[in-house]
């Protein structure tokens, strides 16, 4: 699973991701094989009481593959890192759960997605959420900065999964939680590395 990739291969994968998610930022409808937006959120049993508090244009931008909050609610006051925050829906749900005493940082590779997340953020009243552009696997946070790291449908796209996990562990406080929803392969990998890079999004 952990593929050894040359720097130019990583660049190719990153530019492929940026290209796709520039389109997704405008609206995910029709770009995924599973329900997105409000339909996706309802199918994944996101808390309807929390969804009610978010504008519908925010809900529209959701394209996650699961519900990280189904693994247990966040606690008031938690500091949360969302790796691959996309349109920001999970970060904003997290912000609602942690309350004004907590904070949420959302990171995304795609500048268009960060812009969309910031537009979504402006439609809410949260003062403790920031979205930042991020590439590679090295986090610019101090050790033990967060109570929760969450990620929804993103680790499968990260070339250096092991390194990213080490970084997630480093920035968590002792006892901090990692909550991930993602796609795993059910078939076997038989293709050569170049073919795998070209078919990074399956």
């Amino acid at each position: 699973m952990e593929l050894l990739l040359a720097p130019e291969d990583k660049k190719k994968i990153e530019s492929g991701i940026r290209e796709k998610y520039a389109k997704v930022a405008a609206g995910p409808e029709g770009l995924f094989k599973y329900p997105t937006g409000r339909a996706g959120l309802e199918a994944l049993s996101y808390d309807p009481e929390i969804l009610k508090t978010l504008p519908s244009s925010v809900l529209d931008s959701f394209c996650g593959v699961g519900n990280p909050f189904s693994l247990g609610p966040l606690n008031p006051g938690d500091a949360v890192l969302d790796i691959g925050s996309g349109g920001g829906l999970d970060s904003l749900v997290a912000a609602r759960m942690v309350g004004p005493g907590g904070k949420v940082v959302g990171l995304d590779l795609s500048p268009e997605m960060v812009t969309r997340a910031n537009e979504n953020l402006r439609q809410t009243d949260f003062a403790n959420v920031v979205f930042q552009e991020f590439s590679g696997e090295d986090l610019l946070f101090e050790d033990g900065s967060f109570d929760v790291v969450l990620s929804n449908g993103v680790f499968n796209l990260i070339p250096g999964k092991g390194r990213m996990l080490q970084e997630a562990c480093r920035v968590l406080k002792p006892g901090g939680r990692l909550l991930i929803a993602d796609q795993i392969l059910t078939g076997t990998l038989t293709k050569s590395t170049p073919e795998r890079i070209d078919s990074w999004f399956r």
Partner: protein
């Protein structure tokens, strides 16, 4: 190496798959939940290290200073008798 093994190698404890999401992005992938905790006790001190630290503390506390070592032991004896401890 699978994803759970990577999580463990990164320093997470109790890494586990926690069910399917039902959202599959292709015929050969499956939406899956994962959870883990940053271990609390994993890098804790060994028993030997703990005893060593205790001995260091003990030696430091009884080292000759304003009171000499013998006087400190006598004070400790008096205090423990006064408190009803076994000296």
């Amino acid at each position: 190496m699978d994803f759970l093994a990577l999580m463990k190698e990164a320093g997470f404890g109790g890494a586990e798959m926690a069910g399917d999401t039902g959202f599959n992005s292709s015929a050969v992938t499956k939406g899956t939940m994962f959870r883990a905790k940053k271990g609390i006790g994993e890098k804790a001190m060994s028993v030997e290290d703990g005893l060593k630290k205790y001995r260091e503390f003990f030696e430091m506390a009884y080292a000759d200073g304003a009171l000499d070592r013998k006087m400190k032991h006598l004070v400790a004896l008096g205090a423990s008798l006064g408190a009803g401890c076994e000296p």
